[in-house]
Subunit: 338 residues, 2 copies
Amino acid sequence: MLATVLHGPRDVRYEHVDEPKILKPTDAIIKLSATCICGSDLWPYRGLQPMNGPARMGHEYCGVVVEVGSEVKTVKPGQFVVGSFCLSDNTCPHCSYGFQSSCVQREFMSGAQAPYARIPLADGTLVPTATMPSDDLIPSLLAVSDVLGTGWYAADAARVQPGSTVVVVGDGAVGLMGVLAARQMGAGRIIAMSRHKQRQELALEYGATDIVTERGDAGVAQIRALTKDVGADSVLECVGTQESMQQAIRSARPGSMIGYVGVPHGVELDGQSLFFSQIGMLGGPAPVRRFLPQLMDLVRSRAINPGKVFDLDLPLADVAEGYRAMDERRAIKTLLRV
Amino acid sequence: MLATVLHGPRDVRYEHVDEPKILKPTDAIIKLSATCICGSDLWPYRGLQPMNGPARMGHEYCGVVVEVGSEVKTVKPGQFVVGSFCLSDNTCPHCSYGFQSSCVQREFMSGAQAPYARIPLADGTLVPTATMPSDDLIPSLLAVSDVLGTGWYAADAARVQPGSTVVVVGDGAVGLMGVLAARQMGAGRIIAMSRHKQRQELALEYGATDIVTERGDAGVAQIRALTKDVGADSVLECVGTQESMQQAIRSARPGSMIGYVGVPHGVELDGQSLFFSQIGMLGGPAPVRRFLPQLMDLVRSRAINPGKVFDLDLPLADVAEGYRAMDERRAIKTLLRV
């Protein structure tokens, strides 16, 4: 089959690869309904993350099961499924505490920017729907797999409560999903930090009540002004740079929580500063599996429309253009039709 | 009056100082019933913290009000009071969220190793008792002022729940109080890391179920063995060094919380490591004021006996010996009788 391979910085190829096969009795093979490009794919694409040779790309997926290994019990061929970008057995102690992204058998999904994909740990990872979803819901169901699940986790880790004041640092797709999540959790005020008009509009549509365009000291001053000099109850850090983390810390009130889901690149925290800021932090790869059933239900009942975050819709064959568009910030997030 | 002044490393003098006076209408003056030496006093004592000239020492206190400023409404001369080492107005937004140690008017108490002390922000800081407590309760009421309140906050920040597995890093007085707090909050298992026999015994008396004497890799291996390779639900970090913080992080399970109350000295956290460990953290100077009424009640009803953490009882005039004994680890914590 033809699928996506990253050969080096900015060298994405849609080329022949072997079709996936069942390798372990706990595997499933799915035919993808759609896939997409993640902001985190841009780290290696931009050469900012070391690579060990050509890499099969893609970790966000939904689709129809075509084959299962001999030990798979909970999904079967013909079912539509969504899974997390973190593969997990969903039975180990960490899974049972709701942190499936730290499963003792955890693997990270790869190779999903393709027509077919192998899903290890299928029973623990995949959640089937009772009936085949309508086509127009596919983008939103795909979003659950990572970008929505990750934004949701940011809000959950930041302990967003009904009525609370939330700051979202980062207006990428995850940040926008963080706005959506905070709204669903009942936040009273949601301040989105964004300098891009199109993203601001989507943030407002997803429930942001305020937009802050400044960054650094000026951004902090704006947050202070909006919160009567108190700071936010919850901050969602959805970027992963030293600058964004400092923005998050300086936007938060003492006793608040930062949920950080941007994979930190070059972030160093000084223990004593963090201590005296008295700000709590919880981050990590999102345990999307914990949220999958709830989020899939919200999508299927059309209570939420996370799929709107895809503002570029391309056939999989044009995946290289999809990367370029996101790299150049012409697109927030690229949907790839299989 | 004669009081405690630190002139430089290991140079504690009991010498003449001016008696405290009401300087602001929100001040109170108390006659101390007892005071004590804090583990954090050892940082400047050991020359590990910069000083700007001679410093009046002591921030833990309880005693009888002798005078109040014209605006003080909630305490009056003759009342027995306990206050936090953090002075706070108890009305600002941070106070109302229960983080009085980040009060917008916060000051840190000083000069309490003395017969008399000035307490700024008396209304927000001091909690009176309805009647004069009996003498034998004075050490435990004094402990509430910082060491117990701080250990309690560590357990609160680490979100200790009924039945949870707790690791306490640090067997100083705060760590021992953390054990007491975790027991009061219903922890199912409390693993105290301690290499000192006397402290181990007190930890067991306060509710520890297990003692781990190893540190570093061996200590982590022991925690893993005791928790079936899962890690703890909550970790109380009560030291403040890079080594102890790493011990805490490596003892915690993904999704757990570390409550850290040892003032970090030289602690640096790598964002990406913390991210992938998926461990939550909340620290800071303890908002003791939030806990004062509850903890004073627990002491007065004799449900807890935190005063037992004082294993050296000296007249205030012998304060220099009190510092020496703690510095040389001959004493866990020194009570000073006024």
